[in-house]
């Protein structure tokens, strides 16, 4: 008896067949998943490149052996602050030999070995953290003239590259979504067209626009949800494999990168796949469903305007 409720003549199983739309939505969700995964990967890499082990900060202290504002030498005071700051992995003062090797080209040109050299501290920060800016006022207080330089030519470039990869991914997702909306609109219009006599009839029997649009939209929403689910499931193995390959590049700690992968353990998957990626795969089906539902509501309501 309950099924009879839907004997309202719309025959949506004919108007919106259940094979075509889910398949197309699945294909597009798959593409969207890949694009989003690319975007998330680019984000992860840029995090590492801008804040990670690749980035070195140098702190130059002119007149290292002069007395500091408080007590002790300037270099000792600076080293004390830098070494104990949270977020600093190592702070290594370059020896005279290292410094001369570094500056050899310039020193040879001037031929003067008695130039007063500043002390240089090479700071490696903990990946994902940028502890130096908040330290600057304190460093300046104990050793005026101290110079902090972030070696950022490469990391800036890589960050820019990552940002443009992310923009491309976003653009790809937008294009896929636009195509998906167009496909849903076309399918809905075709469905409306095949059932136009039944629609005109129930319209003249007093069916509200909201009822007709709701019936079409829940059917399309469901089909799109199923399609989105299919796309997510299809993308999962591919993204797992890619995450595994990318792990050494995007891992935050080096130890994790070399650990062998145990494919039978789902917990290990969760470890190598960025959590953002898993959330994205989970969010994709409802997003597809909602997009289909909204598009169909708008399409049907616009179409019904032809009836008075």
């Amino acid at each position: 008896m309950a099924r009879r409720r839907y004997h309202d003549g719309l025959a949506l199983h004919q108007a919106l067949p259940g094979q075509f739309l889910p398949f197309l939505v699945a294909a597009m969700s798959f593409l969207a998943a890949l694009a989003l995964a690319g975007g998330i990967a680019a984000h992860g890499l840029s995090q590492r490149w801008t804040h990670g082990a690749g980035a070195v900060t140098t702190v130059q202290v002119p007149g290292p052996d002069d007395p500091a504002a408080g007590s002790g030498t300037r270099i000792a005071a600076v080293q004390d602050i830098v070494a104990h700051a949270p977020g600093v992995a190592t702070a290594h003062r370059l020896s005279d030999a290292e410094l001369r090797a570094l500056l050899a080209p310039w020193i040879e040109q001037t031929g003067d070995s008695s130039l007063p050299l500043p002390a240089v501290i090479e700071v490696h920060t903990v990946p994902g953290q940028d502890p130096m800016p908040p330290l600057l006022p304190r460093l300046e207080a104990v050793a005026p003239g101290v110079l902090v330089e972030h070696d950022s030519v490469w990391s800036d470039r890589l960050a820019a590259l990552a940002a443009s990869l992310q923009a491309c991914a976003l653009l790809a997702v937008l294009i896929v979504m636009t195509v998906a909306v167009c496909v849903v609109m076309a399918a809905t219009r075709a469905g409306l067209q095949t059932r136009r006599q039944a629609i005109a009839l129930i319209h003249s029997l007093g069916a509200m626009d909201s009822y007709i649009a709701g019936r079409f939209a829940s059917r399309v929403g469901l089909l799109a949800l199923v399609g989105g689910l299919g796309g997510s499931i299809a993308a999962l193995p591919m993204l797992l494999a890619m995450s595994h390959l990318a792990a050494p590049f995007s891992a935050m700690t080096d130890a994790q990168a070399v650990a062998p992968m145990d494919w039978r353990n789902p917990r290990a998957w969760a470890d190598i796949v960025p959590h953002a990626l898993l959330w994205m795969l989970l969010a994709l089906p409802p997003a597809a469903g909602i997009t289909g539902w909204v598009t169909t509501q708008l399409t049907v309501r616009a179409w019904l305007r032809r009836l008075p």
Binding site: A11, Q197, H203, S204, G206, M208, Y211
Partner: protein, 223 residues
Amino acid sequence: MFRLHDVSYAYGGNRAGVAALSHISLDVAQGEFRWLLGPSGAGKSSLLSILSLEVQASAGMVEILGVPVMQARRSNLARLRRRIGTVWQDFRLLPDLSVFDNVALPLRLQHRAEDEIAHEVHAIMKWVGLENRLDARPLQLSGGEQQRVAIARAVIYRPALLLADEPTNALDERQAGRLMAMFHRLAELGTTIVVATHNDAIVEKYPAPAIELAHGHLVRDYR
């Protein structure tokens, strides 16, 4: 009940279109029965489709059951349609639904309970003499049987305004008589009824006030 004032209608828009109705003014009270007469092409079906809210008049004022149709919101028009029953000249049964589902359709759209729907459908189908064809498809029925299904669907939700376009043209004399008896009973109960026909015999047999059209103009309107 319903009022038309200076109503015109043209298919395909006012300027280029075919003028089907010109400057019609009418006032019909609750519980009245009216014939709608005129030769073929006079505009009878067009007038009924304005009253059943299938088309909007191109000009003039239309008021049905106290609702000014030209200014009403879409949702109010939908609600108004639920109080108007129509028997179309071409029946408009849905071929892929059973007879039962066709007749139940208006009640389903009003979200009535299924047992109540079943009760109502059986009662009305018994009255039109088709209670044993509930599972048939419309195209498995004769013309007269289809017409009776269309009539059953139009009256099942007890409309306040009942519009019927040539409702007897496929019926035999006995069934036409039964239908006329039902119309008079419904009118007594307060339903306003307009029946379009060019069957002079039945009009003579069941005399009632008439609205007469010719070439889209009102030529006679008496009570």
